[in-house]
């Protein structure tokens, strides 16, 4: 009965993209040992400043602090492997672009990881300090978990997203399959975290794909008490976007330009839950699971990769014979093209997609077929919206609509005339932000 109740929960629009997950869905996670030097970014984001304490030539152990947090929001940076530090360089990350980094040449033999299991956090303070010490990061906005938990409007609903609707990515699925007990237990602890004697979260929801029936059954059996809700959802793209999970699970509507936190919801992917689970069991946060897949990958795999590993090493692993025509950091729908040799893995990178073709079909003219409007998950009409791009100044209504867009890329994907709708809307949103900022400066002076 519950099954059917959830089954109906979905949103209007969205599409069933061929999920391309067969190549890696049944492959267990293997750990990847980088051979060349690592390039470790010395901060997680430009908005999270750090004070680097690492010096060139020093020998470090696995888990040693390389940079201290600068400010209450920031996170420390830890050494992912034992080895010798090299010169300061810069590294390219898919989410932030160029960041200051330090080279680390891994030692011949890395000593076994020291683990010191801790007791699970019972209060919000314990949870935030644990998350901060272990540099737990929410990938969606590269926001530290401890900041998300203590903002001006603390979330009362926690959604753990195990859907992973992006085609080709299976890292979260493999984590759920291989570490089910542990992850469900951690989710149970999160549901019990208290502040001043009251539970922090009214609801803790774990979303899974309807199609993975055995996984759903297993998680249901393991769920320690009734406070962890299991929500099997249709894996219609882009269901795992926080805005749409918030809408489907809580029926709360995210304001334009806002995000899940503005309506009191916190959405974290399974990877973040796994990082938290590692923190409780005392493992240092040094690696994450990545899916390396795509049509050009001869050896697609789910790999446990230390942070700071060069992306080119992973490409060499997956496609030793030939270079892929295009390398995408993330999934093929919302990922970012990697164009630099200094690209490295970060805590928010969920996978790499190796493509054989870069050429997109040539854009022609709109024939008013309505596909973009029909499939838009947030109810926009991209066909009409992009017509305002040539306007001298964007009207408030248009600017507001561009802010509603969640960058899922469905409109461009389905457009039979292959118009770059998603990119145009993104450009318009950027322009609207600049125009607003310019206006604010004018009024201020």
């Amino acid at each position: 009965m519950v099954w059917h109740w959830w089954r109906r929960r979905t949103f209007r629009g969205g599409i069933f993209v061929p999920d391309e997950k067969a190549a890696t869905a049944r492959q267990s996670i293997r750990s990847f040992t980088p051979r060349g030097p690592l390039l470790i970014p010395l901060c997680h984001s430009q908005h999270l400043p750090t004070r680097p304490i690492a010096r060139e030539g020093a020998d470090v152990c696995c888990g040693d602090v390389l940079a201290d947090p600068d400010g209450p929001r920031s996170l420390p940076v830890l050494a992912p492997l034992a080895g010798r530090l090299g010169p300061r360089r810069r590294a390219w990350t898919s989410a932030e672009g160029w960041l200051p980094a330090i080279e680390l040449t891994p030692a011949e033999s890395s000593p076994a990881l020291p683990t010191e299991p801790r007791s699970p956090p019972r209060t919000l303070d314990e949870l935030t300090s644990l998350a901060r010490r272990n540099a737990v990061l929410i990938p969606e906005h590269r926001e530290p978990l401890h900041v998300a938990l203590t903002g001006p409007r603390p979330p009362d609903v926690l959604i753990i997203d195990g859907l992973e609707t992006q085609p080709g990515l299976t890292a979260d699925l493999r984590l759920l399959v291989e570490r089910t007990d542990e992850l469900v237990q951690t989710a149970g602890w999160l549901a019990d975290v208290q502040l001043d004697g009251r539970r922090v979260f009214d609801r803790v929801v774990l979303t899974l794909s309807l199609r993975h029936r055995r996984l759903v059954r297993r998680v249901r059996t393991l769920a320690p008490h009734r406070r962890l809700e299991i929500a099997p959802l249709e894996d219609k793209y882009p269901q795992s976007h926080p805005t749409l999970l918030t809408l489907v699970i809580t029926r709360r509507r995210t304001p334009p330009g806002g995000r899940d936190r503005d309506v009191g919801v916190l959405v974290i992917p399974v990877a973040t839950l796994a990082a938290l689970s590692d923190a409780v069991s005392g493992k240092a946060p040094i690696a994450r699971v990545l899916t390396v897949a795509g049509e050009a990958a001869d050896r697609p795999a789910n790999l446990l990769v230390p942070f700071g590993t060069r992306v080119s090493e992973l490409v060499e692993y997956a496609s030793p014979a030939r270079r892929p025509a295009a390398l995408i950091a993330g999934g093929p729908m919302t990922g970012v093209r990697v164009l630099h040799d200094e690209a490295v893995t970060t805590p928010d990178l969920a996978g790499l997609t190796l493509l054989r073709h870069t050429a997109q079909p040539e854009p022609t003219t709109c024939i008013r077929c309505g596909s973009c409007m029909d499939d838009c998950p947030v109810g926009l009409d991209p066909r009409v919206l992009v017509q305002f791009e040539t306007a001298v100044s964007l009207k408030a209504a248009v600017a507001e609509q561009t802010a509603v867009c969640i960058d899922c890329g469905v409109c461009s994907y389905v457009c039979p005339s292959s118009l770059p709708l998603a990119l145009t809307i993104q450009r318009m949103r950027r322009r609207a932000q600049l125009e607003r900022a310019a206006l604010a400066t004018m009024h201020a002076s």
Partner: protein, 397 residues
Amino acid sequence: MTATSSETPARPDPARHDGPHIHSGQTDRQMVAAWLLAALVISAVGAVLFGPAVLTIVAVAVATAVGADLLMRSSIEARSGLGSRYAALTGVMLALTLPPTAPWYVPFVGALAAVVPAIWMFGGLGHHLWQPALVGRVLVQFLFAPDLSFNHALASGPILVPGRMLMGDIHNAQPMAIGSYQGWSRINPDFDIDAVSVARPIQILRQMAAGQLPVGRSAPLTVAIRDYLPPWPDTVVGTTSGDIGATCSIALIVVGLYLIYRGFLRWQIPVFGLLGAAITAAVLPLTVPESPGLAATTRWFPATWIEGGQPVGLLYVLFHLTGGQLLLCLMLPAGDALSRPLLSRGQAIFATAIGALSVLIALYGIGECAGYWAVLIGNTFVPIIDRWTRRRPLGLP
């Protein structure tokens, strides 16, 4: 735009996204190719039913449409990925809506009208309001009405006799006396003729609504169906008179299912169109003619009529669904991706209106283009329907 609650930027730097890096692979060319295939299948069926004259009509219509399109393109330097494919589709669709006895200049003028004013003078593909092929069709109906009715008899048209299909000359036809026609399969082929001229089902129904059909008072529908209308299976298989593409309901349904399977037609259009037509036909009144001592009476709800224990009213509704241009209109011109409403909700409203209007015009209107006028009227309301069914962006009032 609402301010966000924390200091970090609300979204990742917009310039960071450059996706999607994959495409569905479904292009406008494939879409038009599927429609073209569907229309060509129907015209092949028409060629079997009405003979080689059909091929001439299709060829003239397509050649004229493509030629006119190329001319317009070169004169205004329009850019489109579709090339002249859509014009070719318009040509075939126009041919499907013409009667098989139309002389060559009818498709020529019709295709010119369809491409030059109806597509290009509106601003090209995606900007026109009315389905171009149907604009051409109703225009030639005004210009060449005598040429379009066979032997100047409005209510009838020719059909090839058994044994002469595919090769017979449709113009070498002999009129069948009303009351003696037992159905296409019972025609006794005469060696001298290739075709017989039989009544158009919709014209018979229109006479019945006006009370002009001498059917008596006791069992009017039974008499009309037995003596004046062709057997109902003939209208399903297509062996009855009518426009080239409009008679064979089976082929139209198959083609519609193919387009639905390919995702280029939504099921809402045929289903709601048939539903709208069936309900309208079930409700709208027929006139029982006067008889000695009794005046003519108008009776509503013909679908509920039971005569001699038989539910003939339901059969009457079925004649409305398969006997005219309704199925052709629903499967091809109404579903045309360039002139239908954008969302499926709007398409359901649109199709229901088309079904209802086509029955209304067939029963109480004039002329032979009931279904085509219904689609054109429906097209007129597409912008309003789109406004009614507009989606609300998430988080906006």
